[in-house]
């Protein structure tokens, strides 16, 4: 029997563990499948992490070390190289590693912090055979930054999310030529600063509303045919263009990795692909919490750490048998706002609600209503799908609330 089992030793898992420890639960076990803590941050050697949380610009490994050092200092137990096979609804965790074999732990509370994985080329329906030279951007990142291999010399990148942009710069600095970054949407999903410092600095063209329609080459990638897409995202034949290259990187989205959540019967959202949670990041299964990229994909690790602290603290309250009065206020959205986290409010207290929009909107008002009542109204100069937004609802606003509705009003 354990008080708290945390699945995943990345930024979310470590931050949740520290928060739980500091709030009084010391019997914690972190299960991590990799050989070290830190998760994906270990391969994100670029800087830009931690500005929000620590007020300084850190690289991924430096950010991870701040948490790992704390986990070690507090003496929180971690099992590395350990794969969790199953989590049951009654919080029995089944895991395996080469020292302990297959083992089971009954936990009082479980925090799911497994992170996300990349959408693969297979999900995209692109014509051509299966030559060598096709990588997800994250795989290429691991090769370059952790193994010291350069996957290719002439590169085309599909997808302008942050990982794709970061890899465009990284491959260029290591001597590769990045011919283009193609983006299906009319806007980039990445941060403006990354377009500036990763593409513009190196004169790498960003081709918006473009996609790869064909991959050429049988043994090795020899080139791609790209084309502009119309407003329905269908390629326009006349705009086809051939680019010779030996490598293609796909940076086409991240998907929360929720196989274990499913095995525990946790209700998932069709929009985020993560769990449906309340303000404490508690899932539909009592005592099972979810935080970080397994819950919804974040753009900044700083927010992952913050979210994990919420889950860590809440797990402690759950273990200690918190008896606060509970309510059930669903949070709905209008579609322009694609989703919120949390999706349900179960306790009347100050709640920060995070959300993402479905398109780029300028000069809009974010409105939170409860039936006829406008609870909150905030102006935003610009909102974009790539940038997570948040508003804070005060306890008083929730006093008589039945159902919250998040909408975006354009002028």
């Amino acid at each position: 029997m354990r008080d708290l089992v945390i699945i995943g030793g990345g930024p979310a898992g470590m931050s949740a563990a520290i928060a739980a420890y500091e709030n009084g639960v010391k019997d914690i076990l972190i299960l991590e499948r990799d050989e070290s803590l830190g998760g994906i941050l270990q391969q994100c050697i670029h800087n830009g992490f931690g500005l929000h949380k620590f007020g300084e610009e850190l690289t991924g490994p430096e950010y991870a070390w701040k948490y790992e050092a704390k986990v070690r200092e507090l003496g929180i137990e971690c099992k590395l190289n350990t794969m969790v096979l199953d989590v049951s609804e009654d919080k029995v965790v089944t895991a395996t590693n080469s020292e302990d074999g297959i083992f089971q732990i009954q936990a009082k509370a479980v925090i799911l912090a497994m992170g996300c994985r990349e959408r693969s080329k297979g999900a995209l329906n692109i014509a051509g055979s299966r030559p060598a030279g096709i990588y997800s951007a994250g795989t290429a990142q691991k090769f370059v930054n952790m193994k010291g291999y350069l996957p290719g010399k002439n590169v085309v990148i599909l997808g302008s999310g942050d990982i794709g942009l970061i890899m465009a710069r990284r491959m260029t600095l290591e001597g590769a030529k990045v011919h283009a970054v193609c983006e299906l949407m009319p806007y980039s999903g990445g941060l403006a600063r990354n377009i500036e410092q990763c593409l513009n600095d190196f004169n790498i063209p960003l081709k918006l509303s473009h996609t790869i329609v064909k991959i050429h080459g049988k043994q090795r990638v020899e080139g791609v045919t790209i084309a502009k897409v119309d407003e329905n995202r269908r390629p326009i034949k006349e705009t086809e263009e051939y680019i010779a290259c030996d490598t293609i990187l796909f940076s086409v989205g991240l998907i929360p990795e929720n196989e274990l959540s499913k095995s525990a019967n946790v209700e998932l959202s069709g929009i985020t692909s993560g769990a449906v949670v309340d303000q404490d990041r508690q899932t539909s299964v009592e005592g099972i919490f979810s935080c970080g990229n397994v819950l919804h994909v974040h753009d900044l690790v700083d927010y992952v750490s913050e979210e994990a602290e919420i889950a860590g603290k809440a797990a402690v309250e759950y273990i200690n048998g918190n008896k606060d009065e509970s309510v059930s206020i669903p949070v709905k959205t209008d579609g322009k706002i694609r989703y919120t986290v949390p999706q349900i409010i179960t306790k009347k207290k100050d709640v920060s609600v995070y959300f993402r929009v479905s398109n780029i909107y300028k000069n809009v008002t974010v409105k939170v209503t409860d039936g006829e009542n406008v609870l909150l109204s905030k102006k935003r100069v610009k909102v974009a799908p790539g940038e997570m937004e948040s508003v804070t609802l005060k306890k008083e606003m929730l006093e008589n609330a039945k159902e919250l509705y998040f909408s975006l009003e354009e002028k």
């Binding site: 050697i45 010291g148 410092q197």
Partner: protein
């Protein structure tokens, strides 16, 4: 002359409009914090970037590194050449200087390796 910049200091990515004449900044608009102003001035007069990369270790593995200060933007390629020639002797801790004084900055480790 008017220059449009995207601030790269933080994830907000403010759009800056800068009036520059003869390498002098006359006016900056669009920044939402003082650091944006400093960035705009530096970007117009002496653009600088922090470089992050990896250095080979004496066991054949890699350690992640960065320049501990931004270096002139037009020296990025030369800086990479220095980084790619360097060899780090293990063990290495975060903050250890791997190469001294590269365009006014030190190349320091950003990872611990035994």
């Amino acid at each position: 002359m008017e220059r449009k910049l995207t601030c790269i200091i933080c994830p907000l990515g403010c759009e800056l409009t800068v009036q520059v004449e003869d390498k002098k900044v006359l006016d900056i608009k669009g920044n939402t914090c003082p650091r944006g102003k400093v960035y705009a001035e530096s970007e117009c007069i002496n653009p600088q970037r922090t470089i992050t990369s990896t250095v080979r270790c004496n066991d054949g593995g890699l350690v992640a590194v960065k320049t501990d200060k931004p270096i002139p933007k037009d020296k990025m390629t030369e800086c990479m050449a220095v980084i790619n020639k360097a060899v780090a002797t293990l063990p290495v801790s975060i903050g250890d200087v791997i190469v001294e004084d590269v365009f006014g900055s030190n190349i320091v480790a950003t990872q611990n390796r035994k």
